[in-house]
Amino acid sequence: MGAAIRTEGLTKYYGSARGIVEVDLEVDVGEVFGFLGPNGAGKTTTIRLLVDHIRPTSGRARVLGIDPQREPVEVLRRIGLLTTDMELYPRLTGRALLDYLGKLRGGVHPGGRDGLVERFGAELDRPVRELSRGNRQKLALVAAFMHDPELVILDEPTTGLDPLVQQEFQTLVRELRDRGRTVFLSSHTLSEVERVADRVGIIRDGRLVATERIGDLKAKAVRHLEFEFSEPVACEPFAALAGVRTAETDAHGTLLRLAIARGRSARPSCSPRDTSRSTSSAPNPTSRSCF
């Protein structure tokens, strides 16, 4: 059967507006694939093409070897799906909603569903309209996983979830991979997928610009660190340290910014008292990775 997901030259224009352009994607069976990109880059468009919610302008897609345009029902039967553009029926309770979706699947094993409800702490007795965004997301996740699909496609799955539930989600994704399942999840932050993904594809302005193993990406990733000193410091000694790509200090010399990456830096730079950059570039003060 080969790849769990394969697209060739997949292109979607909405009228003249760009959706995605010539996306060649290959996700192997049994891997966790992170689909990364800023909002509006084309993540949701790609996912909607994979499940036949929209039709491609050109190119082709195969999901578990099936053409979604020709056999959308077969694709949906074998995958679990969560998209960002869907709303749950507001008047149904969580239980009625999951019952309904389960029935439409021809019945799902209640044990699996109840286990997921418990793991995520999903609220079943209140109508969906009374639930917070995070609690709705829990129900959507249960619906995506409850039939134990061989491939799960998740668009921004951790939106609105508190950190504990996010952790539970990541644990679940790892368990699925260990059981040979395939998980395709999109996100706009690397930190969200780096803990679980084996590989990531990066989409920007509708084009897939890179596909990397997560380890390689981490090695390339540049981290920004800020140090505040009580007295002015010179930036040159820091620029000479292994792994430092750039070092800069602010006008007072008390604030030091370092950009660090693994491996030796080819050409470390040092820019003291660069006031214009320190006000305009404002790197993220946490150690979040950028790319």
């Binding site: 499940v51 919610h53 709303e87 029935k103």
Partner: protein, 260 residues
């Protein structure tokens, strides 16, 4: 299993609205039918004094069947059933699409055709229930009050009204399925119904414009005064066919277009 679920949910979602419309239908029947016996003589006198142009439009209202036609089967019954059918039809696909619950429905293995057909079937049942309630209420009152209109004639009037309501349902459903937008679906459907009513009047009142009635769906429904004269099978067939064609065209487009 999956098929009956969408059908059942469609009905369940419209249960409240159907109940309210049914209450309206019963109220209209109760008020207008029970008004007839005490006022029959006055209505006859009034009918004599009505200007000829209006009399043509209203039909023989001094006759009990003509009275039912003018008040219920060509007026308030139409308003209620068409309003129900048009709002149901517009909400079916377009309403779910605007509420963004349609992408949720298509996370499960179900085809667009199945969803559309079973939603349409559920709504057709709801509209049919309303027509049946109208027939039952009018017939019960007519029999109870000893008004001289055979049940077969009431059935004929109801059948035409049912066909007209299904025509509105098919049109609203079809436009909603094709466009994914509720407002144009409702606007076009109600526009066609109102335009049909106006054309029917113009065709009646102006010499040389009789042919206009052939293109008026309102004429197809009420023009032959079926509650007086019995069913006009050709017009009934035309209404049901138009309903099916409009719905089918919308579904055809729905299965091929992008979801909103």
């Amino acid at each position: 299993m999956s098929r009956s679920s969408v059908f059942a949910r469609t009905l369940a979602d419209r249960l409240r609205a159907t109940g309210l419309f049914a209450a309206g239908v019963v109220a209209v029947a109760a008020v207008y039918v029970s008004m007839y016996p005490p006022m029959a003589d006055e209505i006859a006198v009034y009918a004599e004094s009505v200007p000829e142009v209006l009399a043509v439009l209203m039909g023989e209202i001094a006759d009990p069947a003509g009275y039912l036609h003018a008040t219920i089967f060509a007026l308030l019954g139409v308003v209620l059933l068409v309003a129900a059918a048009a709002t149901f039809g517009a909400a079916a696909i377009a309403g779910e699409e605007e509420a963004a619950t349609l992408p949720l429905l298509f996370t499960v293995p179900i085809s667009r055709l199945t969803v559309a057909v079973h939603k349409l079937a559920g709504l057709a049942v709801a509209v049919t229930v309303l027509a049946a309630v109208l027939f039952a209420a009018v017939t019960a009152l007519v029999v109870g009050l000893g008004i001289d209109v055979p049940a077969a004639n009431i059935a004929a009037g109801t059948l035409h009204l049912h066909a007209f309501a299904l025509f509105a349902l098919g049109l609203a459903f079809g436009i909603g399925a094709a466009t994914g937008r509720r407002a144009p679906s409702l606007a076009v459907t109600l526009g066609v119904v109102v335009a049909g009513y106006v054309l029917h009047g113009v065709a009646h009142l102006l010499d040389g414009f009789e042919a206009l009635r052939w293109v008026s769906p309102f004429y197809w429904s009420a023009g032959t005064e079926p509650v007086v004269n019995g069913p006009a099978w050709g017009w009934l067939a035309l209404l049901y066919t138009a309903a099916a064609v409009a719905a089918a065209a919308g579904i055809w487009r729905f299965t091929r277009r992008d979801l909103a």
